[in-house]
Subunit: 410 residues, 2 copies
């Protein structure tokens, strides 16, 4: 009778994997910090290394394929964006609204044009124009998680530049969604699909969610949390606060936005005045209570992002060259966007902060892999690896550049 | 082109479920607190209600079948036991060792004898003696998570009684393992399996792990965490502390113990003196940092435990009667065990603290469902539901009784 199997906890392997990931993430982060890079760069590199190790010796756990990591890493970036939202208020964000809008617009148009030009130059002649357009679109949307982490590390989350970056990234997300719908529409235009109504519906849903969250949400939350402050049970602030964030993340996703946008909106909406009673009773602010969750979960997200890159596909000379050129165009495009911030905002900080592309770009690639032109997939395996490589390079270049310009301040 | 699907985050449903669970767990806990019951009772009831709702309207999410809840709830009880371990030190535990050992021994022998007698009286004549023995065995092992939560709620975790309870529960776990191997051995004795060597191996592994953790572990941790205190990166204490706990949970499970025993041992081993430098630099103690994780994750564990009970199987009159009798015998058996604590230890507190049976009992039932006597499963579906019902009743009776005797002190 194999009794050991009877007591075997199906969770045990996950516990071991988590212990390994925390240890290696912290070691990688430490190495990065000693090389004067942001810790998150080290965590991304650890993920890449773990996948390479798994490919070499199958005994090594496959981080990228672990459903537990998918869940915990996904929760990590949602909680991170909630924490970033908590550091600002709606009025503060509205103040930087115009600057964010300019940064977002420039940051979508320029990288898209640059990416389009790059793809047109590098791809074999005769490849469809929509493909060039699609590759340009993949360079649009900033992955705010990484910059948010660097800004937190450097204590610059609630600076003017920090707010412009996050605001622009939220607008980015809406614009990225529109570009994706437009490009998909162009591809299916041959089959007679109507583009206009789809675009209008997408835009309406996304903007409607943001408007409702920032108005109705701000009216309702003080009442809700005042009700909760009459609870006699203990430890209600954090579960209710997180529950609120996750609810908005879910609703935002229903409206077609990335979950992190809703979580960020929840953080913006929740203001100290609403939850003062609860914070006082529990002797900790909500920010203090969320902080350990971010500490534990967000490294898992960054390791997972690194782990998702296919090292074999990436390290082909042709793919690598394509990726490097795309990434360069992407960096330059976003750097230029930094100047959209206007006076009193350090363009280099904003520009570098917008450089990382990640989740949204990966969603684009996944979507592109499903699109077909005349029965042929729009994105070949090589094109996919090249784009993913470019995204990865921006996730490394972004925090390095941002860390560098933030340090040069002090 | 269904663009909404392109941006659909596979995590969104989980985010919604988590928001729902936190809200309902806190509401259930609040109701319980207002009825002068421990909050955890309300959380268990919420789980039961959610499963009943899912059975009635399939639209309602099936909490018990969600892999995300399985993971997060499982992490919840591991983190909870780590936090409980952090509240005590090894010398403090050794001081109550003799009392814990007596409580554990009485608490295994008496409920087992009572359960055996009850099964013999209630089950149809002619059912095998091993079945009666097996049902008795299911009543042995205390589920410490629930009592640990009640002790925390009442601020009694680091009382003498609190330590005796947790210590006895750890010993319980080892004894329970032995009983399971012995009963399984008796069942397979007909096919000529040797019982002695198996028992010795099991005991050796489990005791070996505990001895190594408390000796080698205590020697190594100060050095490890001193090394970590030289890290320049930030926020290393919590990931490394948790990583250490999860590593020991995994190792303990390899040695045949429940994961929570290893996590508890990790908490015991980590003493303030070892991590002082890190705690000082990060301006928070490890206990403070772990606390929000417990707040968020442990309600998920208790809701999940409630959700796992099959309401239809439970609410059959015959099953219910069998469950009530078994539960009564189980309560009395553990209550008697409280007197094993000896002088200066309040027997009623310890006794009620030992009453809840949960995970380990459920593991027994799962194991029993796989055992066969002459080609027939040892445990019928009705017997399974009855035992699970009895376990559930003890998880409700335990915190109610413990809350009651703890309140009657002040």
């Amino acid at each position: 009778m194999p009794f050991a199997l009877l007591m075997h906890d199906p969770l045990a392997g996950t516990l071991m994997l988590l212990a390994l990931l925390w240890l290696s993430a912290k070691l990688g982060g430490e190495l990065a910090v000693r090389m004067r890079l942001p810790a998150v760069t080290g965590e991304l590199a650890v993920g890449l290394a773990l996948t390479a190790l798994h490919r070499a010796w199958a005994l090594f756990p496959d981080v990228a394929a672990s459903p537990a990591m998918e869940l915990l890493g996904g929760l990590g970036v949602v909680v991170l964006m909630f924490a970033v939202g908590l550091e600002s208020t709606v009025p503060q964000m509205l103040k930087v609204g115009a600057a964010s809008l300019r940064v977002a617009l420039v940051g979508v148009v320029v990288p898209m044009a640059a990416g389009l030009a790059g793809a047109w130059l590098l791809l074999p002649k005769g490849s469809p124009f929509v493909l060039d357009l699609f590759i340009g679109a993949c360079l649009c949307a900033t992955s705010i998680g990484i910059s948010a982490q660097v800004l937190r590390e450097k204590g610059a989350s609630d600076s003017m530049e920090g707010r412009v970056i996050v605001g622009a990234a939220v607008i980015d997300d809406v614009l990225g969604l529109l570009v994706l719908v437009a490009v998909s529409g162009l591809v299916s235009a041959a089959s007679g699909g109507a583009l206009g109504p789809e675009l209008a519906k997408t835009l309406g849903l996304a903007l409607g969610f943001i408007a409702l969250a920032l108005t109705l949400g701000r009216l309702a939350t003080p009442r809700l949390f005042q009700l909760a402050s009459r609870f006699r049970g203990e430890q209600v602030l954090l579960p209710l606060g997180l529950g609120f964030a996750f609810l908005l993340a879910w609703l935002g996703n229903l409206a077609g936005l990335a979950s992190i946008v809703g979580a960020y909106a929840a953080g913006l909406i929740l203001e100290p005045a609403h939850i003062m009673d609860l914070e006082h009773r529990e002797q900790h602010t909500l920010e203090e209570l969320v902080h350990p969750l971010v500490t534990v979960l967000s490294p898992l997200f960054f390791v997972l992002m690194g782990a998702k890159v296919d090292p074999e596909a990436l390290f082909q000379p042709a793919t690598l060259g394509f990726a490097v050129v795309l990434a360069l165009l992407g960096v330059v495009g976003k750097y230029v966007a930094g100047y959209g911030g206007g006076r009193g905002v350090r363009a280099a900080v904003v520009g570098w902060g917008m450089v990382p592309r990640g989740e949204v770009g990966l969603i684009f690639v996944a979507a592109g892999a499903q699109l077909h032109m005349n029965g042929v997939p729009l994105l070949s395996a090589e094109a996919q690896a090249g784009i993913i490589g470019a995204l990865l390079l921006t996730t490394v270049a972004g925090p390095v550049g941002l860390g560098w310009v933030l340090r040069s301040r002090g």
